[in-house]
Symmetry: C2
Subunit: 335 residues, 2 copies
């Protein structure tokens, strides 16, 4: 396996023109910060739709070092201009709420399907040399047949969002295979850390848990026995950078996991302990969530590790500590 | 397994209100004829887009016995009216050309993705009791890892059409699982028979082969060693009817195959022999097709047979004989 040597990231991204869709969102803004640190010329594209993850405060500390462009991934005219001359595209913009996708399936399809296809057509025609990393999701597996879930597992999405993300992922793989665009996808599991959406559970339940702990509201744990894996955002960002510069990743759609597996009950207790505030209470599963819940999930991400050399470096406890510290300081900017 | 008893089809469909999207197309019109024979009130919906399979001559002989409504599956207002009060929906309308899907991916997505989602939303809201059978395709498997391909095989579509059909299939399964709509999907392989499109290879290469044999033009066989399975259209229609009335099919997406496996070279020779006219010549694969070709494919359809009791009744040779006889009489109506 060809793995990037230490220092490859700096040489790959220093001076590179990098476009990030969803660049004011949780992962996108952390990626923008890391890339700016590596000397890249970053353009963060975001629609700032209030229900999604974009937040200008996410790039407040790097405001002079990146270019911000407010536009929607459905705006193909803007994207056509913005991707031209790009070296890398981190394609993170998406509708991520599972319940929203059921209540308004066509909007989910527009953003996660139609716009992705348009973006790839635009890259093919106007930026054929660009290297793309697409943020896919473990949601496309649905309820696992076996654990840990590897990439041989059938895709059986359990909501409209999962179906459209599956299509979006496959457009990327197809354009890689057929048109020679260089594209890879990472199937993200629960990613967490500073700059995540915490005002509600639209991005992940862990966001609102952090808010509740800091505000002293009891956390409601639905069920509690479900096992999950988590990726600290800095580890996720590193995986994306490695995916972008690793030729063996082209045409791959691979899982990313994290540092071990934890039950939601244990996670809630760890969070309360780390924060030193709040309490956790186990509650029965709400019916509306239950019918699209997938039970236990954790990834086998050995393919990603083997191809890129990636390994998570931040433990769950340390990640929670950093996240809580961030929101203890900045919570009002996320409400 | 609960299998329909003989006579169940007549009792299920006699007097039933049945909607067929793509109802003037190849399979849709054969289905309409069979359903009219069973005493159903059939509405055949078709856009008659010239590049697709719809042809008014396909229902010429049953013109007074079915209702024809010219409208596109993207016309949600028309569909909303047309599906109300329906007992069964055979959802066959689609863009089927693989090359067209690469040249105009957004139109393929509109028809095979967006419109399917709208149709299911419409059924959920305005015809919640309707039973749906969706025409999916073996194309969504891509290049097989093993043969015969069963439903445990990963879906790895190799063109935009395959990705969108995969999404369209999953919308149906999802709406079955989450909203209690009753929907099943059949993953069709090469279907052939009277009323198929023969003026070009947009629907299947076998169509244009039949035209060439009848016109005395040498058939060009690309490659020739590739193995394929074929379903005679009457057998396909029977499988769709059985799928619609078999409760165990709800939420299933199952393969349909046919009577054995044949190489394209042997098929061409059989066709020339059956027709008594024409010749066949082996040609190298055109590059544009090669990059999206999937090699050998044939289905394991034992799940469908077990759940519905379906079995193919028309051999390849007999099917070709009937097809050639049909086009010998009617070819000008298909040019």
């Amino acid at each position: 396996m060809t793995q990037p040597a230490p220092g490859d990231l700096a040489s790959a991204f220093s001076g590179a023109r990098v476009i990030i869709t969803g660049g004011l969102g949780f992962i996108g803004s952390n990626l923008a910060r890391r890339l700016a640190g590596l000397g890249a010329e970053v353009t963060a594209i975001d629609s700032l739709i209030p229900e999604y993850g974009g937040n200008l405060f996410n790039v407040d500390d790097i405001a002079g070092r990146i270019r911000v462009n407010i536009s929607d991934v459905r705006d193909m005219h803007a994207l056509r201009y913005l991707v031209q001359g790009g070296d890398y595209l981190f394609n993170l913009a998406g509708q991520t709420s599972h319940l929203d996708s059921m209540n308004d399936p066509q909007t989910d399809l527009e953003i996660n399907g139609t716009a992705q296809l348009s973006l790839l057509e635009t890259c093919r025609k106007h930026a054929p040399g660009i290297r793309i990393v697409f943020a896919s999701t473990r949601q496309i597996y649905g309820k696992p047949d076996y654990l840990p879930v590897d990439e041989k597992h059938l895709l059986r999405p359990v909501d409209v969002n999962g179906i459209n993300k599956m299509a979006g992922e496959w457009y990327h793989i197809l354009y890689n295979n057929v048109y020679g665009l260089k594209a890879a996808a990472l199937r993200l599991t629960n990613t967490y850390g500073p700059r995540m959406r915490v005002k509600d559970a639209r991005q992940t339940f862990l966001g609102i848990w952090i808010k509740m702990v800091l505000e002293g509201t009891p956390i409601e744990v639905w069920g509690g026995e479900q096992l999950r894996d988590f990726t600290y955002v800095d580890d996720c960002v590193e995986a994306m950078l490695l995916a972008a510069v690793t030729p063996a990743m082209e045409g791959q759609a691979l899982n990313i996991g994290g540092d071990g597996v934890i039950s939601l009950k244990d996670l809630a207790e760890m969070l309360v302990r780390v924060a030193g505030t709040g309490t956790a209470a186990i509650k029965p599963f709400p019916a509306e969530r239950k019918r699209i819940d997938i039970g236990d999930y954790y990834a086998d991400d050995s393919r990603l590790r083997a191809l890129t050399g990636w390994t998570p470096t931040v433990s769950m406890e340390e990640g929670l500590r950093r996240t809580v510290a961030y929101y203890r300081e900045n919570l009002p900017r996320y409400l």
